[in-house]
Symmetry: C2
Subunit: 253 residues, 2 copies
């Protein structure tokens, strides 16, 4: 796989309701899985408030560093929906009524229902391209490598599902998971030795302390199926050699 | 409330398993709520990979900007648990076997069970102070304004619960929620007018498109109960004036 182009992404979650803990974010996990399956790795996520300065600074810091930047939140019709104007400011372009977005509104609302607030939803940075979705009326948009998506999970998911097949991506990262009930301190030395023999893979150890009992998931991640299978077999052997019972979860995309 | 000191925090979630989407983060919402109730506002969250350069750069960027920085993840005994050494590097201090942390291990393991991997869990930046927890053996630690906590939610929650009462905080942010089934585009103008009359409050509009139907939560946040109650009453009046049925959720801390 030497020389394979690795595609990277960052996600900017815009929203006071996430930062306050009132709303549990669900967009990170969904987007990361869909993008990962397309060979696009989410390398950094930021959660920031509904404030223009924060949005402008964050987007301008991230867009040269990653192939893709996705934002979620703040594209509705209310006063706290400021993402479009902040993205325009980040790019140093004006805001304009997007004719296609306006047409979408006109298909769904009677003329007297199209008020200033709803027209905000069709107001986008100059040069933006629409990102459509089938769940709500409000389109997101793309400008350069920045994709501006809804915050509502149902709408964001529809947008990501529509986008992903059309994005350039690399080799998908696949994973194998071997679970057992051995203490991490017992497995650690052998697991590190396997990680050293497979520097092309990323091996992580994730314990859980639940009412149902203690367990640890040993997760192997990489792009080469044969290497993953070989390393997973070594991890299972290690667990057995230490007196544990390895349980292999089915391979995951 | 003029002149009230506002306490701020940022959260750094360290973990490839969160970035890949395999694991749903639960720590942000928990920490944000507990800290918010203590008058400490989470203003930014970063999710970064298990990589020392990223950890050092992120922590050093955030710690002068916020009263508190909390990290989660990477403090166990396995090779991917690198947070302690990276925090030491961020502060330019050495790593040392913390005598109290070592004593905790010695209370829980027989001498022959204390191996190099487990001693890693007691190896901390010079000058660190322990952050204990009752769920697992592994303590976190504090150095200056950076609190290094576990990633496993059960352990992280125990650590936060133990810490929060001892942290300096300001006036807690309280919230009121008025829900209804009016379209956001119908409410937007009136809601913005209320926001303008209450610049000391933060009013957000959060729609949901679920199988059970459409709804929108209008959330008011602030530190002054009387102002919150007055603004929530205006929002409810607005909803009624537009033909909707406001439902007020009980006030939340």
């Amino acid at each position: 796989m030497a020389g394979e182009r690795v595609y990277t992404a960052s996600l900017v979650i815009i929203g006071n309701e996430i930062l306050s803990g009132r709303t549990q974010d669900l967009n990170l996990a969904y987007a990361a899985k869909r993008l990962g399956a397309r060979g696009i790795r989410v390398r950094e996520v930021r959660v920031i408030p509904d404030e223009c300065d924060a949005i402008v600074a964050t987007v301008n810091e991230l867009r040269p560093k990653f192939d893709y930047v996705f934002t979620t939140g703040g594209i509705g019709p209310t006063h706290d929906d400021i993402t479009a104007e902040c993205i325009a400011r980040a790019f140093g372009v004006g805001l304009t009524l997007h004719p296609e977005a306006k047409r979408i509104l006109e298909q769904h609302y009677r003329p007297e229902q199209i008020n200033a607030a709803r027209l905000r939803m069709a107001t986008m940075p100059e040069g933006a391209e629409l990102v459509r979705n089938a769940v709500s009326r409000v389109p997101g948009f793309r400008i350069d490598n920045v994709y501006v998506l809804a915050g509502v999970p149902e709408v964001m998911q529809a947008m990501i599902d529509g986008l992903v097949p059309n994005l350039a991506g690399g080799v998908p990262v696949r994973s194998r998971t071997v679970s057992c009930q051995l203490a991490e301190g017992v497995i650690a030395e052998g697991l590190e030795a396997i990680q050293r023999r497979y520097p092309d893979l990323d091996i992580g150890s994730y314990p859980a302390f639940r009412r149902s009992g203690y367990g640890v998931s040993l997760v192997l991640r990489g792009t080469d199926e044969a290497r993953l299978a070989a390393a997973a077999a070594e991890v299972a052997d290690l667990v057995r050699a230490l007196g544990g019972t390895p349980q292999e979860e089915p391979p995951e995309a």
